[in-house]
């Protein structure tokens, strides 16, 4: 094994949430841990989730995009 510990990995999915894998603590402003109910979690990136900081799929309803549109050619 090249490394004993897998690093935390965050995958930024286009037009969607950030998927977090690995041993990371997710805490509130007081440092108290927030519930983590599964090994891989999706963090809200559109700001409209009803279960923040986790994603609830709302980004699709509001048409959230992560990539800026190509500037118009002129």
């Amino acid at each position: 094994m090249p490394e004993r510990e897998e690093p935390v990995r965050i995958v930024a999915y286009p037009n969607g949430p950030l998927l977090v894998r690995g041993p990371v603590e997710i805490v509130g402003p007081d440092g108290a841990p927030l519930p983590r109910r599964r090994r891989t979690v999706a963090l809200c990136r559109c700001g409209k989730s009803t279960i923040k900081p986790y994603c609830d799929g709302t980004h699709k309803v509001i048409g959230f995009v992560t990539e800026p549109e190509e500037p118009a050619e002129d």
Binding site: P17, V41, A42, G57, K60
Partner: protein, 359 residues
């Protein structure tokens, strides 16, 4: 969820009670399950029923017969010898129904446009466009705003045929995939099966939802009440599951299923809250809001996209499976909305104890 909700053990399911046949094909299959002398007549009975049916997709008799033949490969049927799973006659009968069944699904499902390339990103983008364009009937909005208690209980009964074995059909894909797609499927399935915690297996959480409305959580308890259209969507998953050649469709089906689940699950939960039910009832739906928002990303890009990137020849089957989920899994929803809109029950006969609950 509160700790006490987690302490219950997982539900241990047993082989389902034998259903009541709905015609000659089902009678022949059910007879063969308990009488070896009847096995030889099954294929002929199935062929006759196939020749006579105007529509194999919604044929009560054939869909129930097919469901029983598949159940031999899943949870089993009470009192049936386990070696019948590989009975040549019963498997021949299953394949006889499967061929026209698959052809009819392919004829009924509109194929989406192919992505610009077979890259994982392009496949995922195509699947997101397909599933967000789905303007199918909104059962979730009906549940959230209008459903009566009886309709909410019927909804749980209709869903119980699949959900009490939730995720099992797609697990058949695991040994048939490799690399990125396999890792993605296992990651999703592990979460479906509770991540190692028996009390969090999704089918067990659903069993609690059923019990909280005074419903039976035994697998197949309501099989005789659900119409063909409900069996059709479950049978389609089993068709994709047990045939390796349809692994692309199985993957596409799971992707579309996950991609159309998170937002409706919130509305289903809201519906049960509106009817006065608490966390014991809504946990299943609340769990799916968060879980499927994770799963849909993995399913679209890493599972479906990863599969097509590795096996580009499976592109059309992945798209077919996704479109089939949107179309065929939409039929039971449309059926419920139509019957409820007419003030009728969506079941073949109303629930015997309609109205009584533990709430």
């Amino acid at each position: 969820m509160p700790a006490q909700l987690l302490e219950d053990a997982a539900v241990q399911q047993r082989p389902m009670a034998p259903p009541t046949p709905r015609g000659p094909a089902g009678e022949a299959v059910l007879a063969a399950l308990t009488d070896p002398a009847a096995e030889a007549g099954v294929v002929a009975a199935v062929d006759e029923a196939l020749a006579a049916t105007p529509d194999v997709l919604l044929d009560e008799d054939l869909q129930l017969a097919l469901f029983c033949l598949y159940e031999l490969h899943f949870g089993g049927i009470e009192g049936v010898a386990e070696d019948l799973e590989w009975s040549p006659e019963l498997n021949a009968a299953r394949i006889r129904i499967e061929r026209p069944f698959e052809a009819a699904i392919r004829a009924a499902v509109p194929m989406p446009e192919r992505p610009a390339s077979t890259s994982a990103g392009d496949v995922a983008a195509t699947l997101f466009a397909l599933t967000s364009a789905d303007s199918g009937p909104s059962l979730s909005r009906w549940l959230a705003r209008k459903a009566t208690l009886e309709q909410a209980r019927e909804f749980l009964v209709q869903r119980s045929i699949y959900t009490l074995k939730e995720a099992d059909p797609h697990s058949w894909g695991i040994p048939r995939l490799t690399g990125r797609a396999k890792a993605a499927l296992v990651e999703i399935q592990s979460d479906e099966y509770g991540g190692g915690r028996p009390g969090r297996v999704h089918s067990s959480i659903y069993a609690r939802t059923l019990r909280s409305l005074g419903l039976d959580d035994a697998y197949g308890a309501y099989i005789d009440l659900v119409p063909a259209v409900t069996l059709t969507s479950v049978n389609m998953m089993s068709l994709f599951a047990i045939n390796r050649r349809l692994r692309g469709a199985l993957v596409g089906h799971l992707a579309a299923y996950e991609m159309t689940s998170a937002v409706p699950s919130r509305l289903y939960g809201n519906g049960f809250r509106r009817l006065g039910f608490g966390e014991e009832t809504t946990w299943y739906f609340d769990e799916h809001v968060e879980a499927d928002a994770v799963h849909e990303q993995i399913a679209a890009r890493d599972l479906a996209g990863g599969l097509v990137e590795g096996e580009p020849a499976l592109l059309d089957d992945v798209l077919f499976g996704a479109a089939a989920s949107l179309t065929v899994d939409g039929w039971p929803a449309a059926h419920m909305l139509e019957r409820w809109g007419a003030g009728a029950s969506s079941l073949r006969s109303p629930l015997p104890d309609a109205g009584s609950t533990d709430a």
